[in-house]
Symmetry: C2
Subunit: 343 residues, 2 copies
Amino acid sequence: MELDERKKKILQAVIRNYLETGEPVGSRTISKYTDLNLSSATIRNEMADLEEMGYIFQPHTSAGRIPSDKGYRLYVDAMMEEKEREVVEMRDMLVERQDKMETLLKQMARVLAQNTQYATMISAPQTKRSKLKFIQLSRVDAGQILAVIVIQGNVIKNNILSVEEELDDETLLKLNILLNTYLNGLSIDEINLAMIAVMKQQAGIHSAIVSEVIDAVAEAIRAEEDLEIYTSGTNNIFRYPELADQQKASELINTFEEKQLLGELLQEAHAQGEETGIQVYIGAETQVQSMKDCSVVTATYELGGGMKGTIGIVGPKRMDYDKVVGTLRAIQTQLDELYGKKG
Amino acid sequence: MELDERKKKILQAVIRNYLETGEPVGSRTISKYTDLNLSSATIRNEMADLEEMGYIFQPHTSAGRIPSDKGYRLYVDAMMEEKEREVVEMRDMLVERQDKMETLLKQMARVLAQNTQYATMISAPQTKRSKLKFIQLSRVDAGQILAVIVIQGNVIKNNILSVEEELDDETLLKLNILLNTYLNGLSIDEINLAMIAVMKQQAGIHSAIVSEVIDAVAEAIRAEEDLEIYTSGTNNIFRYPELADQQKASELINTFEEKQLLGELLQEAHAQGEETGIQVYIGAETQVQSMKDCSVVTATYELGGGMKGTIGIVGPKRMDYDKVVGTLRAIQTQLDELYGKKG
DNA sequence: TATTAGCACTCATTTAAGGGGAGTGCTAAC
DNA sequence: GTTAGCACTCCCCTTAAATGAGTGCTAATA
């Protein structure tokens, strides 16, 4: 069967209406809602066709129609009209360059949740490709060394090392110079075994310390890699009856609190969303069991220096895709303007 | 009317039973449940008295009795028998001294939630009384100075300062020595204006930088003071039907996500719980609107060096007070053993 | 041939009524 | 002071009927 222009219009009308109301939509509603000037009977025939093609279905006999995942997919891929939204508050929020990335991300999650009325999550930028900017060892206590590692974009990692031997100031200074000379400006991938060997040799009797520091750097990176995720607006799911029953809500909230699965989801989105950076997952497409009745829209963002992260918005399948995609795209643009090129 | 021994026993039985089942408890149940060997009729008379005194009430005519807030209060204050619980996993978890306090606290919240099946929250230690251990300024970039501030207990704060003038290594070293000489070992309260004036004088032409650094320290402290809170097991509230309806659950979850109110709650608990450090809030006693159907048990803990924080457990009014208080006390003891005296 | 009006039918949801049961208060007997 | 017995209350569950939105199908229409 062919999906002609009229069927498309009707499908679109069904989806639009369902997005608004969340109720199954009947033929009479469409008959009045559209400018097609067709009677409900005609609509009924068309809807029967659309059902046969798998774009819509009835939750039970003699109920109106609901879009299927396939229907949503077509809508998102082909029928959506992105609305350009006001993201003024966001601009204000982002305009001041933040030293504390954490604060920025938390706030961003919060504003997004408020703006969209869905649940939001943001993964902190990954530092894999980022360049090491600065390493500093300092003696804090007898036997305790503080290692500060600064990464491009001012992401800072601290680590306290316990050392057996006493280190005098001079040695510490030497080690600092050694480490910075070799490691400065490198991305984390670029640090290799050969380099470590040379450094150890140069450190002489203190090679053990070099090992410890390298371990600490590796540790700091690893800590960064089980990535931080900020969420907001979790309780917005109660706005949508189809998600608000105890079973589903409990599972969803648990998913949002544990964050483990969110991380995997965002990373996959990050990996896939190469082109425009915006990705829409409908229902079971997410692979996260507790989100099978949700849709997720993700956007990757860039903060310069190769630091990329991902924003995700989770709502019911009947989420306002137009608005969400529009908002995310606006944020992407603004982040790009503010941070993207400068590094 | 007098609350004699028998009435107490009956009240206790009512509460115990209600804690278990969550259902109103009737006279016949008590008649069998207790070792008083009284008929249900007698129990009925006694229960009528207890109701008149305000310890229990009927949700509707011809239903069993439910403890009132006053009843719970009496129970917690006078009738509870703390159970010594196995907190073995906790011991294992806590036994390794953590460099990262954050990790420790997160894990602690998680284990507690799992153990008790309630929602938990932990406030990070407050550093107000803690002593400054170490300050280090380093040049990261032209015009960017990294200030690292280490506080007793290895809480580390970073701050990036932008400076107008160029600073050479020597000047930086001098400033480092100056700052550490004056500020090291002081608690944050002890830093005063006179001291700052002296430091500025000694810094000479670089007094502006000293100002900036002091500001940064103040800033770091302020950041620490809007205290970090870790939560876990929020979704446990769905286990208790009396909290699981949409309205209440949504509000509670919002409270847990926003954390603002939790902070106030924990701080109040911290302020009040001077003696044993364990505090029980029943129903409206918490002052947090969304928790009016909950009870909250808090415990302050100490990690040495004046660093104190608060743990809170939130559950239904019929929470297992004995178990919760026992568990919290056990944790207090263990933390004290492991961290308390050493600093 | 495409569209429409009409009608019988389906089924979720709402409303009402009735029965069961848990638990109480009261009274009278022990 | 305690207990057995009984009438009474009221929640809650089940069942039945009424409601109504929406469909599929058929026959008439343009």
